[in-house]
Symmetry: C2
Subunit: 341 residues, 2 copies
């Protein structure tokens, strides 16, 4: 039964600094009707990701800003409930970038099918989706870890960081993670097999702790967080070190002029180091091969993953805000509805 | 006539912040006698370079720190005055890394011959030497300028920057220089043919001036200076921009914790930009080809160069200190003696 009305979440105002609940507005709107070649899908799982903070600002970035008073968009796993397309039938699972709403219109241009037999459908938003591809493509294209090298990853217990570290281990690197709770530290060391992990929140001198954990210096620093953690890592780079810059979550909520740290030019010269920013779409021509490899490793049990799932459409803003408190272990998702049989 | 005594300059103390004359000490010492396979050379020209500041500190860097109470070493053009080597005869010109002293012992392991017929011998310390190779190899390997792209170079009137800009023009880029005096600005625009040049000392808002000079954004920022000039350039990078990091002269005299600026991770992500530190020796396998190409361009009149030459051994410290005041146009040299006929 498809209802007439549904909920959606609009961007009510642009955050100044840290986002707050008031930036989001719940609306009751009609459930739309698909036209020819379109489908109506029901949102099952919704992904909240740090990069979305950037789209809430009006500043030019690598993706368009969200528009005010329009629904926020993000990664979604949904199920087809009405089809006017030859490509999909009712009951199919799909994934794509859709609005924060309970029902959406989609088409084969905007979503792709997900096979629930291959892996749980939520992995399309995590290890087999954008975060997995981001970890794989950024680490291998820019970081290029070699046997015996030292890889440090920040945000190590997050959706991207936890995969980066495990791929580093597969490639034979010594892997050190930085994360923000003792639970996360145990997860990294005991479950994921990281060589060492540092809780930056309880460490007095992060640079000294990193230096101890990396007696041979740092060959690759995979950057997810920026800020003082990055400052410490940058000062310990080895000759010809590589720094894939994936995220800088600590700076996303800072206002202009607030995110100051040691300038890093001298570190880069001293170590002839390479630092490169990227977004996953820079490597879209490699998505297919990367997905196959990630799927293989998951099946072989070489890549483990964790999901933190909050329940209910109304919990979306809170789940998003929690990202900046470091609340999630692995991929943060919101479960909006149960799949139909 | 070879004297018995000569002058040399020792590192008397390590600079704390900006170097001062008192960091240097003049000594009278004996002129040494060459052993078998060695030569005695008379210093004619001596190169003073910003990177030498790094060697005056005790911190680990890409080259060994100078030792206290020992002669400072740097690039030198000298003439053989006594030879016990089959490879050199009296009167030959040579270049290499030698002490700041009037006479030195050398061998074919430490110096190479310079042909005074090909180009003035001073070019071995400038456009056909380390600064020329640095400009060529850093710009082409990391910056990779393409027809129609925008190249911004800081320290643009210096030994490296002036060559970077001219090679950028040869490669078809639009070239904007940043320098610190109106004389330098005229030189860049009127003599070297830069498309535009900005005097950062007389510009109220450097970022706005850069934005105006680069209506299509910045594709390559060749970094020689660091500091606020770099901050402004980094904020204007285009998608897939490249930043060769050659020097950061504005930070060399800062004490620990003083060189703060906006963290740049977000800029790098936004533009998927690459930033890479380098030293010329990273590309030593390309020295030969690069030297040939540089020599060709000089002969064809496509690469012009300027030298600022102070006279007399006693002027060495002052010439070195002047680098940090931006006093030099092009390569800063010290002429220590006239060549013999």
């Amino acid at each position: 039964m498809i209802p007439n009305q549904q909920q959606q979440i609009l961007l009510a105002s642009r955050p100044s600094g840290k986002p707050v609940k008031e930036n989001f507005q719940f609306e009751q709107v009609s459930v739309p009707t698909p036209s020819d070649n379109e489908i109506l899908v029901k949102t099952l799982y919704l992904s909240v990701d740090p990069y979305m903070r950037g789209r809430m600002s009006s500043a030019k970035s690598y993706v368009e800003p969200f528009k005010l008073n329009e629904p926020i968009h993000g990664g979604v796993v949904a199920q087809v409930v009405e089809s006017k397309s030859d490509s999909f039938k009712v009951g199919d699972y799909v994934t794509g970038m859709l609005g924060w709403q309970e029902y959406s219109i989609a088409s084969k241009k905007t979503v792709r099918k997900v096979d629930p037999e291959l892996a749980p459908v939520t992995t399309a938003l995590g290890i087999l989706g954008m975060p997995g591809l981001t970890a794989y493509l950024g680490l291998l294209n820019i970081g290029n870890p070699k046997e015996g090298e030292t890889l440090v990853v920040s945000g190590a217990a997050g959706a991207v960081g936890s995969i980066v570290g495990q791929i580093g281990k597969i490639k034979g690197a010594r892997v050190i993670g930085i994360a923000g709770s003792d639970e996360k530290i145990s997860y990294l060391k005991d479950t994921l097999g990281f060589d060492d992990a540092i809780n930056y929140k309880t460490t007095d001198n992060l640079r000294a702790a990193l230096k101890t954990a990396c007696p041979n210096g740092i060959d690759i620093y995979f950057e997810n967080v920026g800020g003082e953690i990055a400052d410490a890592a940058m000062s310990l780079l080895n000759k010809h070190a590589r720094v894939p810059v994936c995220g800088a979550i600590s700076s996303y909520n800072k206002k202009g002029g607030e995110d100051l740290g040691p300038r890093i030019q001298s570190y880069l010269i001293k170590s002839s180091a390479l630092m490169k920013g990227f977004v996953v779409n820079d490597y879209s021509h490699e998505f297919k091969d990367a997905s196959i490899q990630l799927g293989k490793w998951v099946k072989e049990g070489k890549l483990l993953f964790e999901e933190t799932i909050t329940e209910g459409f109304e919990s979306i803003p809170e789940a998003f805000l929690g990202l900046f408190e470091g609340k999630n272990l692995g991929k943060q998702l919101v479960k909006v509805a149960e799949p139909a049989e």
